[in-house]
């Protein structure tokens, strides 16, 4: 449904998006993840024909965003980070205007507006001025406008930003229900959101794709490099030297010792289990081993890992694809 190939967008000398490629299948919900300034919004703006790509191509429903923007625009619903609302219009007037410029036929307009109002639950504010609505309602009115013409593709730029926890849950539920019928691309930097709503995740950083896959697969793939947590009684420096000497250990980081004993986090080489060797080494040197456990990487950690360390990880994830 969406095919992005080698997409690059430069603003002057500044490269916002640097040769990214990804595909989204029909009915899929794709999470677009990255720190602020990673290029999420820029990519979405290219997909919605708001910006033209500097290099590369993007196709939505088979239409090129640059060659046939009108065909693409007919098939997408889009909410930018701040919903594009006119504060001096009431909700129904606004939705009516959006329906008109989206080319919804006159006979269907009332019904489609009714559907969208119902799906996004903005019925109780339908005659209120948008300028007087709370942030949560504005977001939902924006969503209502985006789904008005029943678009094949929905592009949502941080749809839950600024909502309260209850609204966030409701919005996620709504987005989940929209998947299947619609193809959804949503960007966020809230990680649980991704594992809860998205079938697949693309993580980008500084304009490049650094990882791609289902949330589970991503966690699984990175578990090899994941940390071990070891608690050892004894002089911290000596212990750390011993731990470092074990073959297969990549890094040893002492943790704040609030647990009393010295706590270290150990990063091993990918795919290698060093637990037995670690335990043996510690005991042989006469230190007291108090605990040894595997620390699974949460999505947060994967995210931090991918977006703060550089090329090594992205090369590896590409290789495993």
């Amino acid at each position: 449904m969406i095919e992005v190939e080698n997409l690059t967008k430069r603003y002057g000398r500044n490269t916002a998006v640097d040769g990214i490629s990804f595909h989204v299948k029909k009915g899929e919900i794709l999470g677009f993840l990255g720190p602020n300034g990673a290029g999420k919004t820029t990519t979405m703006r290219v997909l919605t024909c708001y910006l033209s790509p500097t290099e590369g191509t993007a196709r939505v429903a088979g239409f090129d965003v640059f060659e046939q923007p009108l065909e693409v625009k007919r098939r997408i619903g889009y909410i930018p980070e701040t919903p594009p609302l006119y504060p001096d219009m009431d909700v129904v007037t606004y939705l009516d205007f959006v329906a008109k410029i989206k080319g919804v036929a006159k006979q269907q307009r009332a019904q489609k507006i009714g559907d969208a109002v119902e799906k996004t639950r903005v019925g109780d504010v339908r005659t209120k001025l948008i300028g007087r609505l709370s942030k949560g309602y504005r977001q939902r009115v924006g969503l209502a406008a985006a789904i008005l013409n029943n678009p094949e593709v929905l592009i949502l730029d941080e749809p839950t930003a600024g909502l309260d926890p209850k609204q966030i849950l409701e919005t996620r539920e709504l987005i989940k229900n929209l998947g299947g019928e619609h193809t959804v691309v949503l960007s966020t930097h809230i990680l649980p959101e991704v594992s809860m709503t998205c079938g697949r995740v693309v993580i980008i950083n500084r304009g490049k794709v650094v990882a791609e896959g289902t949330p589970d697969a991503l966690m699984h793939r990175l578990r090899g490099t994941a940390a071990l947590r070891i608690e050892v009684l004894g002089d911290a420096r000596a212990v750390s030297d011993v731990l470092r000497s074990v073959p297969g250990v990549r890094a040893v980081t002492p943790k704040p010792a609030d647990a009393g004993a010295g706590v270290f986090e150990i990063e091993s080489e990918s795919g290698r289990d060093v637990r037995v060797e670690l335990a043996r080494a510690v005991v042989q040197k006469g230190f007291g081993l108090q605990g040894l456990s595997q620390v699974g990487m949460s999505l947060e950690e994967i995210f931090l890992h991918l977006t703060t360390t550089d090329v090594a990880v992205s090369d590896k994830t590409e290789a495993t694809q």
């Binding site: 919605t48 594009p84 007037t93 205007f97 410029i101 080319g103 406008a145």
Partner: protein
């Protein structure tokens, strides 16, 4: 067909914005007061002069058409120069500031449709202003002896001229508004540009009629109104206004398009 429909929707929206905010009322009130005041001045002036020449036993050469109608319409053009920046400054600048330009630019409508929607929206309000301004002139017929009213044809050509003049102002305003997200800047720059294009018609008063002064005064938006308010449609004038309008709207469209590359 869809193009016309889309432009229609956008015009509707612009008019709603004008009348839902104080802009339309402020501009219409100011316009009505000033247009009325200028009509009163021109009429008073005319009466005084014709009375004076009658007392001196001379025939007053100027007709009511030349003096009152042409004068009032030209003055309305000047008042329009002050009103149009207020009407056009928010057209695109506000959409940009509010982020609603993203809604328009990602809906299945073209940049040209957006620009034309804005243009005709402002022009519709300006049309209402012209009508209200012309209501003053109706007095000339109401108080005329039966069948002896002034020639009404200059009224039509004058209205055409005023419409073309205002449309040129608006096209320039739409372009300026498309280049910034700050309404105040858009309004101020539009005002200065329009003022300058009015003032260059005074250049030939100073310079002795060289090529440069001729060229400059040709560019003056007001010089081309002179014949139209006297009932003469000169193709040269109409073409001049149409070129300014097309050029302004073309620039506005290009400026919209360029945002896809810079953002």
């Amino acid at each position: 067909m869809t193009t016309l429909k889309n432009i229609g929707y956008l015009v509707q929206k612009e008019l709603r914005h004008y009348f839902a905010s104080p802009i339309a009322y402020v501009v219409l009130t100011g316009w009505a007061l000033l247009a009325g005041f200028f009509f009163y001045l021109h009429l008073g002036d005319f009466l005084q002069r014709s009375m004076m020449s009658a007392m001196q036993g001379r025939y007053f050469k100027s007709s009511i058409n030349d003096w009152v109608i042409a004068g009032s319409i030209s003055s309305m053009g000047v008042v329009g120069l002050f009103c149009v920046p207020m009407m056009t400054m928010r057209l695109l600048a506000e959409e940009k500031r509010q982020g609603t330009i993203e809604l328009l630019a990602t809906s299945p409508i073209t940049d040209l449709e957006i620009v034309l929607g804005k243009f005709f929206g402002a022009l519709a309000l300006y049309g209402v202003m012209i009508l209200s301004g012309f209501a003053n002139l109706a007095w000339l017929w109401i108080y005329a002896e039966k069948g002896a009213g002034p020639d009404w044809r200059p009224l039509l050509t004058g209205a055409l001229g005023l419409l073309l003049l205002g449309a040129s102002f608006i096209a320039i305003g739409v372009f300026v508004s498309s280049t910034t997200r700050n309404q105040i800047i858009a309004g101020t720059v539009t005002f200065f540009v329009l003022l300058l294009m009015w003032l260059i018609s005074f250049v030939d008063v100073l310079g002795g009629g060289g090529v440069v002064t001729q060229a400059l005064s040709y560019l003056s938006l007001f010089d081309h109104l002179r014949d139209l308010v006297r009932g003469v449609i000169d193709l040269k004038d109409v073409v001049f206004y149409l070129s300014v309008i097309v050029f302004g709207l073309f620039l506005a469209r290009q400026s919209m398009e360029s945002h896809r590359w810079r953002a």
